[in-house]
Amino acid sequence: MTFGDVFSLSQANLWRTRLRTFLTTLGVVIGIGALVSMVSFGSGMQRNVTETFREHDLFRTIEVLPGGDGLERTAGGDLESIRDVRPLDDDALESIRALDGVEIAFPEVRFPVAVRLDGEEAKTTLQAMPAAMGTSKPFDDLPYGAFFSSDDAPAVVVSQRVLGELGIAIEGEAEARRSAADTLRPLAADEILGRELEIVTSVLDEQRIVSGIATGGILSGDLPLRQEVVSLTIVGIQTRPTGFQAMRLAGGLLAPPGTVEKIPRIGFSSVWELLDGDGDGGGYPAIHVRARTAGDVEGISEEIEAMALNAVTLSDQLDDFRRGFLIMDTILGAIGAVALIVAALGITNTMVTSILERTREIGIMKALGGTEGEIRAVFLVEAGTIGIVGGALGLLLGWGVTRIANVVANAYLRPEGFAAVDLFHLPLWLIAGAVGFSVLVSLIAGVYPAGRAARVDPVRALRHD
């Protein structure tokens, strides 16, 4: 008896009891459908995070933080040890820039400012961002306008949020359409670009300090501060939050470092600047590094660590993400697997019932010379067929469910200003794995009934009614 014969026999048997076969297969279809949609959700989440990282070149990014033994001791409560912490000064910056594979390294400079436009004022932060960062995402394709052309251009990139606080909505953007934004004034992006934005900073008013000391007034009343105003041209607008914000790389306003340096402000923006006693510049809270390739990141990080500084890479964080996603996938997969196990019990139940009904037929097959192996094979192929068909249809069902869920989710997300996103991902391994798992589970479910059929005593079976 060839495999083709075994296959034909089993298909004929399944067809003969087609309603029961259909219902049993339906159980598998639902089980696999649940498994596929759950796991593809986990897989989709993981892919979206990874893709965002990759899109924004975060795999090439290293964040350097002050390091050394002193940092741990300080964290442990020994505040004096903070003096042993290696600060991020210009020496450190130059050393990092000199490392092989470093494309760009720039210090984190950000400070609070007020901005004014058309009589409206808002508070935000201004951050220095080198023009070279405009060659890659998210700054290479700003939704409106363009990134800075040079490191000392009198230009600024504003975020949509800051514009909103200034009472402006960009025409065509979700905020402008929402009824809640009645108070916002819609303006076309072209009307915003090219406008002068006033940057207002506070600086120490030496005259007030001197006169205050003379009169004793410094100890009472307002702080001895005066405001400085610098006008910068709006060259670009960022509309959406990006993955870069996770790296503290996108503030409310971005301006070239040369321009930022010229903006008068209180002399320090962090405790590190205070610690930089020699006054040669630096004492930055962080230095951001972009490697030429993702492959350079590990080597650069090791060399930075060797300088007694801390290097934080996205790869480290991505490993944590992956661990989290693995746990999520396992939980989601387990929920789907429960549905499949129930379906497997359905297969066993159906087949045991079928054997009881077909006892006489099995006896006849044995009387005609069917071996135990051949009879076992017929039943296993029946179970396997339910597994393959159930797996394939379940895959289709799971895919359909994810498509519908995606449409529904995006229908809710889009009006909130989020970009259309595919929440689900059906990788090849999941397609093959789902069908393979379905067949495996079905075969396991068929082992007992098939063995029972093979062991049927032909003499008794032929007397069976």
């Binding site: 003969r16 006849i364 005609l368 135990e372 032929l462």
Partner: protein, 241 residues
């Protein structure tokens, strides 16, 4: 025993009924030559069905041997027993034992499938077999659409599918009226004569057995109590053994 197609000696078989062990066959022995038509008669419970099941390899003996063409069926593995049932013997049952969901043609092709007949030849051979038992016009009918006699003819065609050495018929007329019984007995006799096919038939119908058999074995309580040798079909020239 040399020269016999089937040699049975010292066959013992018991069944457990609760805690009691009931002997069914007790030292049965007989030889059957090639082309012989032998009938086994006896009352219900005499052990004749069990004897046929043992020869057919459906059941195993407790002791003794059943040698067919030099191979002891009683000592065969389960896989060898399946091969024995497939190609050495063909079986016909009182209740026909056709698969209800399959047509006459498909019932016969199933036997050919187990026998290893190439797929391309099965339908032609099955049709020819059914034609030879007078059912050429009933190929696509299911058992429920056939009369008892027709169903038994399908069963006989199926038993002949793999050219067996021995046809084992278990009460082949037990479910048939007398006229149809005569037809079936006549068919078995014809096959015996024309194909020189060895037939071992278990029956209650001693008259029918005498009409076609060369030898009749009478079983009583698991023992062969009489062997009747018949000179030619219909003749009675018996001898007690």
């Amino acid at each position: 025993m040399e020269g016999h197609l089937l040699s049975i000696s010292g066959i013992e078989k018991s069944y457990d009924k609760g805690r009691v062990r009931i002997p069914v066959l007790r030292g049965v022995a007989c030889d059957v030559g090639g082309g012989e038509f032998v009938s086994v008669v006896g009352r219900s419970g005499s052990g004749k069905s069990t004897l046929l099941n043992l020869i057919g390899g459906l059941d195993g003996a407790d002791a003794g041997s059943i040698v067919v063409r030099g191979r002891d069926v009683a000592a065969m593995s389960r896989a060898d027993l399946a091969r024995h049932r497939r190609s050495t013997v063909g079986m016909v049952f009182q209740s026909f034992n056709l698969i209800a969901s399959r047509t006459a043609l498909e019932n016969v092709t199933l036997a050919l499938t187990f026998g290893g007949c190439p797929r391309a030849e099965r339908k032609t051979r099955a049709a020819a077999l059914l034609e030879s038992v007078g059912l050429g016009h009933r190929l696509d009918h299911r058992p429920s659409e056939l009369s008892g006699g027709e169903a038994q003819r399908v069963a006989i065609a199926r038993a002949l599918a793999n050219d067996p050495l021995i046809l084992l018929a278990h009460e082949p007329t037990g479910n048939l009226d007398s006229a149809t019984s005569e037809e079936i007995i006549g068919l078995l006799s014809r096959l015996n004569r024309e194909r020189d096919l060895t037939v071992v038939m278990v029956t209650h119908d001693e008259e029918a057995a005498r009409a076609v058999s060369r030898r009749i074995l009478r079983l009583l309580d698991g023992v062969v109590v009489e062997t009747v040798e018949l000179e030619g079909r219909g003749a009675e020239e018996g001898s007690a053994s």
